[in-house]
């Protein structure tokens, strides 16, 4: 998956469909009497995700399983029950400072326990979580690939002792995977030109994402939460764009050599098309990444 970070999730095909069926066949799944999960529900969710996000069924299955495994944590982080709020207020007082305490966790809405339980397990909110997991996986795969490429590239061009020591400190396996990733795309050994295919691939990936950003996610949960999905989709794509950009920087800054026109031209064409992203409309999303402002304010509002 790391070897094709820009399209870690290929569209569904006959092969993946068969693989999906084999893996979920009764013979590979311990009997459903084990009450921790419901295999039919998982299968349906996975197929829904595969269909909406146009990704292969096996990957969708993996994401669905991740969602199931993390659901307890997610549910805990959603909010406090009445019992809990009572206890917290007992501890910090019910006055201004006490309520600011709860407010400080603005991400967590206090919800009555029953309603919370129901909404949490509803199909809509489950599907929303699936989409979020899918987007987060996409982004992380690219980021991990970027780190790996950076490690491998700087080793490939290291000239001084200092660099070599640093490379020795990098965990060997990081380097190993990074090299595999790199060598799969490398032509020739000794110059930046050898990385031309990888840079080209990065630029293509950037272009795809810029297009996707304009087009929208195409994912819909029965008309609900579409705004939320689109917002997350935009945020995710911008982050992906940034990580790919970091990867390009990692590659081209690793050498003192000059750059062939086959690398620089596609790059300049791409960014000039978008005016260096200077007038990019969607960038406002980035500001919502870190809940810094509301956090600092909450504390001083009392």
């Amino acid at each position: 998956m790391l070897c094709r970070p820009f399209s870690a999730f290929p569209p569904p095909n006959e092969h993946s469909k068969r693989a999906f069926e084999t893996r979920t066949a009764a013979i590979h799944v311990t009997s459903t009497t084990n009450g921790n999960y419901n295999i039919e529900e998982i299968k349906q969710d996975a197929l829904w995700l595969s269909n909406e996000a146009k990704i292969d069924e096996v990957s969708a299955l993996r994401i669905t399983i991740i969602e199931r495994q993390s659901s307890s944590s997610a549910q805990l982080l959603r909010g406090f029950s009445d019992t809990e709020i009572a206890s917290i207020q007992d501890a910090v007082g019910n006055d201004a400072s006490g309520s600011s305490f709860l407010l400080a966790m603005s991400s967590m809405r206090a919800a009555p326990s029953n309603a919370q339980h129901n909404t949490f397990n509803s199909l809509t909110s489950r599907k929303l979580r699936l989409v979020m997991h899918y987007l987060s996986e996409r982004r992380h795969i690219i980021k991990v690939a970027e780190v790996l490429v950076r490690a491998a590239v700087s080793e490939a061009f290291s000239t001084t002792n200092n660099d070599r020591n640093a490379a020795a400190n990098t965990k060997a396996w990081v380097l190993g995977i990074g090299k595999t990733l790199l060598n799969a795309r490398r032509v020739g050994e000794d110059s930046i030109g050898g990385f031309q295919p990888l840079v080209a691939e990065c630029i293509d990936a950037l272009q795809t994402r810029a297009d996707d950003l304009e087009r929208g996610s195409g994912i819909s949960i029965d008309g609900d939460c579409d705004d939320e999905i689109e917002l997350e989709w935009g945020k995710c794509l911008l982050l992906e764009l940034s990580h790919i950009g970091q990867m390009v920087f990692g590659i081209i800054s690793s050498t003192q050599d000059t750059i062939p026109s086959s690398v620089i031209l596609p790059w300049l064409r791409f960014i000039c098309k978008y005016q260096f992203f200077e007038r990019f409309q969607n960038v406002g999303h980035e500001l919502t990444l870190l809940p810094m402002n509301n956090f600092a304010d909450e504390y001083t509002d009392t």
Partner: protein, 1062 residues
Amino acid sequence: MYLQSLVSIVSLTMLKLPVTIRLVCSYDDRESRHSSKPTSFIFDSSAVNEINTLLFGAARDYLLVASPTIFAWSMILQAVREVVNMPRPARKSHQTTAEDFLEDSQEPFEGPSNASRQRSTSSDRDSSVLEKMLQSLPKISSDKDPIRQLAEIAGNDCEVFNVVLELATNFCKLASFESPGKVGAKMRIVLLELVRYSLEWVQYLPEVILAAEGLLTGGDNFYSIIERARLPPDLNAAAEFLRDHELLVPRLLNVAYARFPFETIPFLKLVKALSAGRDCDDDGILHATTVLELMGSITVMLPNNFKGYDTFREDQNDNQVLLTSDLRLFSERRTNTIFSGTGSRNQLALTVSSNDATRDEMVIPFGTTGRVIREEGPVVVQWIYEYSGLKFLGRLLESALPHSVFVDNLLHCATNNGVVAEIIGLFAMLLSATARARVERPDPEGIEAAHKLLNAASQGVRRNGDIITVIFDHFENAVQEIHLPGTTDGALDVLISSVQFIWALVPVVPGRVWPLLARSKLLNVDGRGGRLGDILASTEIIIGRFEFLSGCIRVFEALVEDAITHAVARTSPSSSLSRTPTSDTIGTGVTAKAMSDILLALVRAMVDVLESFSNWKFTSLDEKQGIVSGILDIFNNILHFVYGADNHTKPEQKLTGMFAAAAKHLTEVFLSSSASNLPVQPLLKILADGVSTPYSTIFIGGTQAWIRQTRIALKYAIALIRLASSQGLSRSYLEMELFKLSPILVRVYTANDAYKSLVVELLEAMVTDAASVDEEPPSLLGPLGSDSAKLFFNVLADFSLPLEDEDLDVNIWNLMSAVMSKRQQWFAIYLLTGNVPRDSLKKPIDKADATRRTVLSKALDGLSRIDKLSSRTARAMLKFVAVSGDFWPWSISEWQNHSTFLKRIFDYITTLQTLISVNDTSKAETTCDALQLASLIGEVLALYLHQCRQWGDISSARTLLARVANYAKNAVTMQGYNPSLHSNLRRNFESRFPGCKLSSFERTKSERAPLGSYYVYCMDISEKMLSYDSSWLGVRGSGFHEEFKRASLNLSLIEARLVSFG
């Protein structure tokens, strides 16, 4: 604006400015045709045409983000033009014609003129690739030279230097969290190259200086610059700068130099930024110091009435002048003229007889030549005069003191706090960078070099003082005056840089810092002073930035570190001191009482800060978290130093006694049982903030700071609760609050993997301590309610999957063992049955719940494969099984449902026996582990036997009993105690460190350690206090460091045997 910034830098990097310009300048038609080297885009005409189209397009749109790239491209084109216009033989080397553009510029920035184009005479190179490039340049407006216009758009309209500064200080800082600083450093180098080449065209301008300073420091504050990891030379912007004798040094540094001290600030800023790179020569002297040590010229503004000079060599028309009398830079204030600095008296003081000149070097002597730089208004002259910049700055600082004996005649900075702050800041940077010139932390060589630096700076100060007293005087003045209405501006800056200087001083001459701080009014020592709070209230709390407070915390941290590392060295009699090179500077004269008073005052001040900071407005979240983390980290250390080692009952009499009063204050404040007026609430809030930890793949630094703050707060809470247990204190308000806040704690657990282990440790400490008093302990799960409790169990029961973190697993098992034995019934029953008691009363057992594997069965399954487990995990699981069997005997029936469990652990004893019987000290650790395992298995089997008797199941008991007897027979021999090891250690240690007891380094109950090399002695404290002496490390493992570990291990072995068979 992350993406834009990134795109901006990537595009600039693509052009590879230095390589491309070099290629252009060394271009040769014939060579390139036969070259096999990879070709650059610059020799690809169609590519160049396309780049022209694209970048001229971007320029027409005035894209700020593109301006660095556009600017760089204009420079490349200009280089091409110069090469084309140059006669062929001159092409080989790059000769700049920049002077053409430097003179008489009207606009703030002026691009290259097309003057050089007219010099083109030859027509025989029309076919040259380079020339073709120039022929098809697009036009922006018809009447102007396109290259010049391109540069002007970037330079003037887009203010490219401001863009560079922004990128350097904001974006590169974000990026520098990637692969320890390297990515950000690489980006800054790329930007520095842009600034470098621009110097061919651009004058010495404020924005260029600012951009260069920003690139050198990366927008970091003083402390993070100094503590930044060392960068390899090719990524060190300061080293790059100083190596460049073609452009950066002559066009930027030397110009600033030539204007100094008439223009004081730019030069000081540049030198400070350069010293930040810790770029030094072979002797560990910073290159920045070398620049200052011997200055070759001094530029001053002459007073209107000064006539002691004459023009000279008028024929050459370069404004040369000659001094006809001595020119004093400083005059001595005479008692009768202190307040009468009128023109005529100054005139008297300015010229001195040659007798005086020999006494004081700070005089520009008669006959010195110079050049007039400014003729209108007061004349400004650059004198060719050699002097020490360090000494000069020292004298300048002294003359700026209100009651100084010196008056500075020419600069008049006495009232200019900005200059004073800048000079002190420069000394702080030089000092701390020198001390760390070659290594990450101050080392003896660095400290020696730092001493020399202090001496050089003290040369200019009058005989009974030195640079340290001068700076402390400035500091003290600012401390006492800053909160008065009408205080001069910049007093806060003086405070900020003085604190930086004090921080830099601590590792170099700690013996000077303690007494000076004791006398200062900053802290409330002996009931005097205590101005810190006033200063904060009147300055930083209003503006929302806390550089001064952050600095004070860093000084505090450094003092704590100094107190512990020199604790032994300061108390030992002189015989051992003579062996330490720094004995004269650590200040053996500082009494423990004085240190104790200062530390107590500091702790009080920090507790005050912690109590009120949540009402302050912070402009930077990083700063807020840095302050909180810094304070709590110091508190943690103090508790650790006092209560971590030495079982002496009176903390004041320990080696770490100077912390005792401070630690006592901390425990009184945080472990009190009353609910009034305490900083407990802020601590709880900080813990609760952990829930909102952001998760980002871009703002890595922000996430790291957040995680650090939460982790430190968790550690502090753990330390407090454990301390309460070991000191037998009554249940504290903090602990009761923590129980009530368990809903928040379990969410902190789920918020980030980095918290899990610590939250579990905290819960365990709470559960254990709560059960230590007679009254019923509060329920850990009560406040959660059944739904959240079940969710938390689910999360907890995943253990560390999928990451398999052994520490976390062990901590979770330990928590569960504690729950079993410490009266947390509800929690315990859930772990054993998988059901919450309240549920089982209400309704029939839910089918799904019933089939879920209980934690107990997880343990039993795990132990059925005991040979696959790590020794630590196996021990923790066995302990859990044993404790649950002991306290909840009915759970033993579950053991029989796991048929292989008993058989496997029993069989495993055979494996253990072979390990135990090995009598080899090098394998003592393994033996120790095996013994502990065997003893736990023994415990489990004993419980089972006991239960069998209850059930009346005699037959299985009998078979087991037979084997247990065998097992016991094989292992009764007590062996392994090595008395000579311990007595030799004690004898050697006490002769090496007279006055010290070995027992001072033993661990206390409040900080337990597993059996092994770290069991008996507290190694980190020992290391801090003893490592100044060479005997600590010794030669090839013969030092006390290894001896301590061997002794620990030997005693662990005995302990393990005692537990097994006792």
